[in-house]
Every structure is written in C-alpha cells, then in structure tokens.
C-alpha cells in the first residue's frame, strides 16, 4: 500500500528529535485524528539551517514529516512557506488517497513553525495571511464506508 520511499522514510526517518532553543516551533494536528506533528527550526540569516521533528501518527504521517524536513532544510523561510503538500507527496512517490492529509499536516507544521518565528520577530509573510496555527480543522479526506 505504501511506496518504497514512504517505507524508507518510515523505517529510517530523517531529522527526528528536538532542537534546544529553536528559533521556531510549530505543532499541528490532534490526538482525535490520530496525528500530531511538531517541528523545530533553527534559522540563520533567513535560512533554515537545521530542522527536527516529532510525530505521533501512522506510517505516512511519520514519512511525510521526515520528507518535509528534508525538503525545507537549507531553504529560505519564503521557500519553505511555498512548499505544498502535493510536492511532499510527490517526493514520497505518492500517498494513498486516504493518507493525503498526512502530507497536508506536514505542510501545516512548517507554516505553524514559521508563524511562530514571524510572531517572535514581528515579521510579515503574505503566505501566512489567515493562517491559524490552532485551527482544529479536519484534514481527513476519507471515503464513505463501504
């Protein structure tokens, strides 16, 4: 059901952990849905120089977090904000339709961390307009029960 890349990132997730005195921390999801993602960024001169994550969730949630952290590492804040969940899913060689919300959660976790950074430093990013890090929206896109 999962691609080899998903299984690889699930088995050997990149960038697991925490960053002490991180410049940005973001957390999204809730236990009700079964996924929580937390991301830590170290940002120097507007560049994400280090990133770590912690995830409670299924295989694709862990793989999506791992892939997303790899994709934003070394990027500027603006570049990270531009990352979409479809790009994360594409890099994972696809996710089952019912698991696409996992990639969306990874995108949201990045935005949530940068939102934290923007608040701390009084910065404005157009991409974060209307972004609510505490939004408890349902990212699931499950089909009807057979």
């Amino acid at each position: 059901m999962y691609s080899e890349i998903v299984m690889d990132h699930f088995t050997n997730p990149r960038n697991v952990g925490e960053i002490e005195n991180a410049d940005a921390v973001g957390q999204v999801g809730n236990p009700k849905c079964g996924d929580i993602m937390k991301m830590y960024f170290k940002i120097e001169d507007n560049v994400i120089v280090d990133v770590k994550f912690k995830t409670f969730g299924c295989g694709s949630a862990i793989a999506s977090s791992s892939m997303a952290t790899e994709m934003v590492k070394g990027k500027t804040v603006e570049e990270a904000l531009a990352l979409s969940n479809y790009e994360v899913a594409k890099e994972l060689d696809g996710l089952p339709p019912a698991k696409m919300h996992c990639s969306l959660l990874a995108e949201q976790a990045i935005k949530s961390a940068i939102f934290d950074y923007a608040q701390k430093h009084n910065l404005y990013y157009k991409e974060l307009e209307g972004f609510d890090p505490d939004a408890d929206e349902d990212h699931h896109d499950h089909g009807e029960e057979e």
Partner: protein
C-alpha cells in the same frame, strides 16, 4: 521468523479440512438438488456436515442452515425476524460494541421504521444485565447481543441474557462468530433462538457460515429463490465449503479441551509479559471474561498503524483499532465505547492466537515488540513530557 497473530481476522484451513473438501471441488460436481446419483451423493455430503455442526451445538440437524458467512447469518437473523414480527412490535435491543454486520443491519432497520436500543458497555466491555431488563418494552421483538467481541475478546453474560429474553418471550440472537470453536454452546442448556457462526474463524474455508435457528422461531427469508436449505436459504450450495465447515467444526470440538488449554496458556503469557515489560500500557477488555486467544492492549503516545507496519517488517501479523488502519475517520467504535480516549484507541494493538502458535513464536514477539514501541515513542511529541517526568 514469520508469526501470524491475526487468527480473529481469519484462520488457515487445516490440512484435514482441505482433504475433506477436495473431492467436492474435483470429482463430485453434481447439484445436490438433482435427482440423479451425481446430485444425491452431494446431498449426502451436506447432510453429514449439517450433522457435524448440529452435534457441536447439541442441536437437531434441521436447526442448522448454511449461509454465505457470518455477515449473512447476522443479516438474516436480524432482518428476517424484524420482517416476520413487525406487526407485533418494532423494537430491537443490541449493544454498541457489535460487529458491523449486526450494527449496520440494525441501523438499516432504523431507517425502515424500527427502533433500536444500543446498550452501553462498561470499561471492560460488559453490558449491564439491569440495563437490558430496563430497556425491554412491550414491543421488543428481538435481542441481539454478541457472545464474544471480535476486537477486545470480552465475553458477555450470555446465560443471563438468554434467560431474560426467554422470560420476556423475546427472540434472542447471538453473533457467536468469534466464540464458536473456543467455547461449548449447548442449545439444550442455553435458551438462545439464533446463533451466527462462520467457518473461516475455526480453520475452515472462507465464504461459508451457518445460522442455528431453534425450531419454531419465526423468521422471513433473506435470500429468496430455490428450495435449498428447507426453503429458507435459496442458492445452489457451496458444497466443498459446507463439507469443510462440517469437518472443521467437528475437529474443533473434538479437541476443545486441548485447544483451550494451549491457547489460554499462550495468551496469559503474552498478555502478562507485555503489561510487565512495556510501561504506559493498558489492557483492553475484561481480564478473565475474555476469549482464550485474544490479547488487546493500548500503548500510550503511539499510533497503531505505525506499530503494525513495524511488526510486519519483522514478520509479525497483527491488527489495530486505529482509524488509520480502517479507512474511517474514527478509531474503533468498540474501543471508544469502553471510554478510551481517541489517543488510546489509536494506540491499540490486537494479537489473536491460534492452534499453530508456539511459545517460541510468542517469545519472538516479546523480543521484537518493546523496541518497536520505544522507537515510536521516542518519535512522538506526546512522549516528551513523560521522559522529562512532567506528568
């Protein structure tokens, strides 16, 4: 090492069962309804299987009706009685931890104008007999309560339930798909009117089940057509499947004591070791009133699907009540009914044992499982506070 611990999902067909079935897939192809010798021989084979199953229930052969599986038996029992008795009453009592074959059949009947009471369960998954008594109304026509739960293994107080149903002259159906083959059900002792069973849960083939229907129980047909199964269930019989079912049932009850002892020992060992070795772990279901082959635990701070994937990579087959494994938004309705938080329901692991399992296999699981749980916990943001001793 490959270890199969998902026997409640399905079981392998025993070699003796397969041997009994093969002639009916190869040489004996006649239609049992035909007059000629080709048909008659197969009619006899079905009668033998019916006798074998009737014997396990201490019932009459004419009280056993073959179906296409446990779900069909459940649907037939519920919809068939509802249709037959709808002029007498339109109230049905069940529980909120039934298998979906029962739950969804009841929900369907609600749309058709029936009223259904879903009895709640306590934290161990047991209904309250008092609740049952209090929910009975003048227009109650059916009580349908499972014998053993498929997820958490909890055994309901079936004798008491059956007695209450009888006292109130209400038809009592039990979904015994998980209990059959593990527990002796004597229909001379237990006043149950209908019992659903399935072959593939006790080392028989898939696609065949049966409904025990006590003589005199009013029920309409679900499958209309030919005169098979004494005009109660149409369709040319799945002869090989029925023969296999008969053989599997006979074998299960011949070796019941040995089977019960073997599995109870393995289950207790596995369960006690998991609870002992892995902190922040909770047993789901009743400790004593539980199926001999069921272990169901929740590990805090982690999610079930990632556990199943990790176990699968080391050759261990298990299941979980996590939403991520079912394709639905919510985790298992059974686990939520116990009062578990969503987080704990997502972190559930079900290991169900079978005759082929050995102590060596259980030791292998006990060696593999703790590091898997630990690895996932180390990745979980919910575990951070625990490590720091904040909680």
């Amino acid at each position: 090492m490959k270890v199969y611990l998902d026997y409640s999902a399905t079981t392998p067909v025993k070699p003796e069962v397969l041997d009994a079935m093969l002639p009916y897939l190869k040489d004996y192809y006649g239609n049992p309804s035909s007059l000629h010798s080709f048909g008659r021989e197969n009619k006899k084979a079905i009668d033998t299987a019916r006798d074998q199953i009737a014997k396990t229930f201490n019932a009459k052969p004419e009280e056993i009706f073959f179906t296409g599986g446990g779900s069909e038996s459940d649907n037939w029992a519920i919809k068939g009685v509802a249709a037959a008795l709808k002029t007498r009453g339109r109230h049905i009592i069940t529980t909120n931890i039934e298998h979906h074959a029962v739950l969804h059949a009841c929900q369907y009947l609600e749309k058709e104008g029936f009223e259904v009471t879903y009895l709640p369960v306590d934290e161990d998954g047991l209904i309250s007999v008092e609740d049952l008594k209090n929910s009975i109304r003048k227009d109650t026509i059916l009580i349908t309560i499972m014998y053993a739960n498929n997820e958490i293994g909890t055994l309901q107080p079936i004798e008491e339930i059956a007695a209450i149903a009888k006292e109130n002259k209400i038809i009592f159906h039990t979904d015994a798909v998980q209990a059959y083959g593990h527990i002796k059900i004597d229909t001379q002792q237990l006043p149950v009117d209908m019992i659903s069973i399935s072959a593939h849960k006790l080392y028989g083939p898939k696609g065949v089940g049966a409904l025990y229907l006590r003589k005199g129980t009013k029920i309409h047909n679900l499958i209309h057509g030919g005169a098979q199964e004494r005009k109660k269930r149409a369709g040319t019989e799945n002869i090989a499947g029925i023969v296999g079912f008969g053989k599997a049932a006979e074998m299960a009850y011949e070796n019941l004591e040995e089977h019960v002892q073997h599995l109870t020992e393995l289950r207790d060992y596995l369960l006690d070791e998991i609870l002992d070795k892995i902190p922040y772990t909770k047993l789901n279901g009743h400790r004593e009133k539980r199926l001999i082959n069921n272990v169901n635990v929740s590990f805090e701070f982690i999610e079930g699907e990632s556990m199943l994937l990790s176990l699968d990579m080391v050759g261990i087959a298990a299941s979980s009540g996590s939403a991520c494994t079912s394709g639905s938004l919510d985790p298992s309705h059974v686990l939520l009914s116990l009062g578990l938080s969503h987080e704990m329901a997502h972190g559930s692991l079900r290991l169900t044992l079978g005759d082929q399992n050995t102590k060596e296999e259980i030791d292998y699981v006990l060696e593999q499982l703790p590091p898997i749980v630990q690895r996932l916990r180390d990745m979980s943001p919910l575990y951070e506070n625990i490590k720091e001793g904040v909680r």
